[in-house]
């Protein structure tokens, strides 16, 4: 009887100790077993679309329901600020792009600092690809360099703010003066490019895929990352890295409150990794024309810190 009691006591003690010692098991407990996945933009945009795809498999990967909450305003800063006022328990996760980071870096009185986030992973990254029209002197990188040297500031590049920033950063390193025309969306810039109102256009890989080779030719990929081999029609477009320059890529990042314990942040990072490997997610992301380029917590945080430094250098070039 005594032995049995001792064994039972030991088992109970071991169970309690194990549950205390294993942070991963006890870490993620959210009220109502629901994670809030905050999108700091309105419904329907690219970030929102990603969030809703990820949430469709959250039971399989996070073991919890995921509720997508749109908290837009001030280029994503409203949602970010809201996150900072919540508990640092990992139950509220922010998914954003470089848009709020750029907005914060531009704004003198921003209520949030770009570093006030614990990055738990990158889902993907945009590359800024420069396209031109075939048969023009600037339709190849060498031709473009020659033309831009002879005609400083004449060649126009249209694109959304982030993508135009990528171009500004690239051409500044080459010492070339380009005429950057920022647009509120890639769609509007594409319309002006197809209508021959601007010479070149900065677009993402998914937009480039639809335009090359029929309506445009690829000139340069100003990010460090090469394009996916599956994009056969974009094959051969040189990257900034291949030319020996620094390139900016614009991430789709996921972050939590900066005071969130590391153990919880690691668990979220692992779960995001599992989510991105889920068959249904892979299929749907491919269908919306985007790539999964996953970076786990440590690597993503490092890249994000570098992004802040690069953006601080590039933003004055747009003014």
């Amino acid at each position: 009887m005594k032995i049995r009691f001792k064994v039972l006591s030991l088992l109970i003690f071991a169970t309690i100790m194990l549950s205390v010692a294993s942070p991963g098991e006890a870490a993620m407990k959210c009220p109502g077993n629901v994670i809030s996945w905050v999108v700091p933009f309105g419904p329907g945009g690219g970030t929102d679309r990603w969030a809703r795809i990820l949430s469709s498999v959250s039971f399989d990967t996070f073991g919890m329901a995921m509720r997508v909450r749109n908290r837009p305003g001030a280029s994503g800063v409203v949602g970010w600020k809201w996150l900072l006022n919540q508990k640092a328990d990992g139950c509220i996760i922010l998914q954003a792009s470089s848009t709020p980071t750029i907005a914060i870096l531009k704004e003198k009185n921003s209520p949030v600092k770009a570093s006030q986030i614990k990055i738990v992973g990158y889902l993907s990254s945009f590359r800024s690809i420069l396209l031109g029209r075939s048969g023009k002197p600037w339709s190849t990188l060498s031709g473009l360099k020659g033309y831009a040297k002879k005609n400083p500031g004449k060649l126009t590049i249209g694109g959304s703010q982030s993508l135009a920033l990528g171009q500004a950063f690239f051409f500044d390193q080459l010492g070339l003066k380009m005429n950057l025309i920022p647009y509120s969306s890639t769609g509007k810039a594409t319309a002006d490019f197809l209508g021959k109102h601007i010479n070149t256009i900065a677009v993402t890989a998914s937009t480039a895929k639809g335009l090359v080779p029929g309506k445009a030719v690829g000139i340069v990929n100003t990010s460090a990352m090469p394009l996916s081999k599956k994009l056969k029609n974009l094959k051969g477009i040189p990257t900034a890295k291949q030319i020996g320059l620094n390139g900016i890529s614009f991430p789709r990042w996921v972050g939590v409150h900066p005071d969130t314990p590391d153990a919880i942040a690691d668990e979220i990072s692992d779960n995001i990794g599992k989510t991105l490997k889920h068959k249904a997610v892979k299929k749907l992301i491919k269908k919306i024309g985007e790539d999964i380029i996953h970076l786990p917590r440590a690597k993503a945080q490092k890249q994000y810190n570098k992004l802040i430094v690069d953006l601080e250098g590039a933003i004055p070039l747009l003014k």
């Binding site: 419904p43 704004e107 769609g187 919306i288 003014k319």
Partner: protein, 517 residues
Amino acid sequence: MINVDAILDAFSLVLTFRVMYWLAIGITIGVGVGAIPGLSASTGIALLLPLTFAMDTASSLGLLIGVYKGAVYGGSISAISFATPGTPEAAATVYDGYKMMQRGKGKKAILMALYASVTGDTLSDVITIVVAPLLAIVALKFGPSERFWLMVLAVTLLGALSGRHLAKGMLSAALGLFIGTIGSDPIGAVSRNTFGLWWLEEGIHLIPVVIGIFAMSRMLEECVDLLKENKTVQSAKSAIMSAFTTGSEGLSFREYLSCWKEMAIGLGVGSFVGMLPGLGSTVGAFLSFSVAKQASPHKKIGTGVLEGVAAAESGNNATVGPTLIPLLAFGIPGSSGAALIGGALMLHGATPSPMMFELYPTVVYSLFIILFIGNFFNLAIGRFFALFYARLGQLPRNLLIPLIVMMAVIGSYSFQGNPYDVVVMLVFGFIGFGMRLFGIPDAPLVITFLIGPMLEASLRKALLINRGDWFEALFKSPLAVVLFVAAIVLTYISIRLQVHERILSVSEEEDAEQSGL
């Protein structure tokens, strides 16, 4: 060249019970979403998009296009019933629709909105189907310089919306222009006129502005009247009963036909505005309303007449089909709703691109068929909602005022879930109330607020592209010159009409005085 096989395939795909079922569901949800202030067509589409992941292409297009069409019409229901535009594109409908509702002609106004919406939408769909690729090429001719002159052309119509006092109209327009500059500079993205408030960095959104100006300001005014009258709750109770028991006047076919000119204006203006990327249905509605008012001053549009409802509603619904033209021809979404439908197409493997007609002809024709059939569903489902809301709008003021105030607060909050939008709505409620007090028209404010930022962005882009050369920026293409000339001619006609109207009203007053003597 028309691909007959693809058209036949598209018919067999679309004409199934499943697709019709989702189309009906989409329109029902859309009308409901549109009628709730703050929830727009794009919000409804975005929220339903995940549902289409597991659906076939035709059914998902049926659901999403149904929501799109239903919501654009649905916005007019609360605009007429409660002076609270359910969607921004319904704001122009408030002018005549709400005045008709106050006169007990709400049912007539809501039915006119429905029939004008369906007429404008159906005919613009025919235009989209027949000449989509051709129109898309025309749309591409509009670069920054041409868009600038197009906006100038729209601003020249302000004279018609200024009422009898042009100076007050100009003051209102100037206020709208200033409010449009709040936020970030469209080129350098540097913050300006934000009064040191970080949450204004993105600028002021249209929805809280229109809800504040149109709904909250009217309710403040009615509150003041009600306090003066000091009516009892008992009288309200009896009025509710009468609102739900007595019938109100419907719309005759003759009355519908009498608005053909305004519906034609709405069709023309709406289809043109819709095919140009970035302008949208709100611009379509206000421009149609302004052109109709300018074209027929004797009809007194804006004072609570059917013609005003017809022009605005035909104008906003006529943009629905044409906004898909740039998407289908070049892969460029013309509006946020079109962008979301493009996203749904991508999810089903038909990525919108310039090769859309060649690569996915069946999908394109399926979309066209759904666009067309959707109008008939909109007519049937919209009519049911119309009759219900027409009764609701006849509630007594004692109950209607708190209901509308509540709807205004919920509507401005639910637009983005952003509490600052409620603050903006309340501020504009008081601004609107002040403007009413001093007889300053609100339409020029809304128009310049809407058009000003687009006008500035187009001008600055034109200047950037032409490296600061003003002449090149403004008159580079023949189309830009044509639009400039049109703006001059329109300004001249507008001034002549105003002078003529002034002379007429003065002589009428003199005649009245003489007959009185």
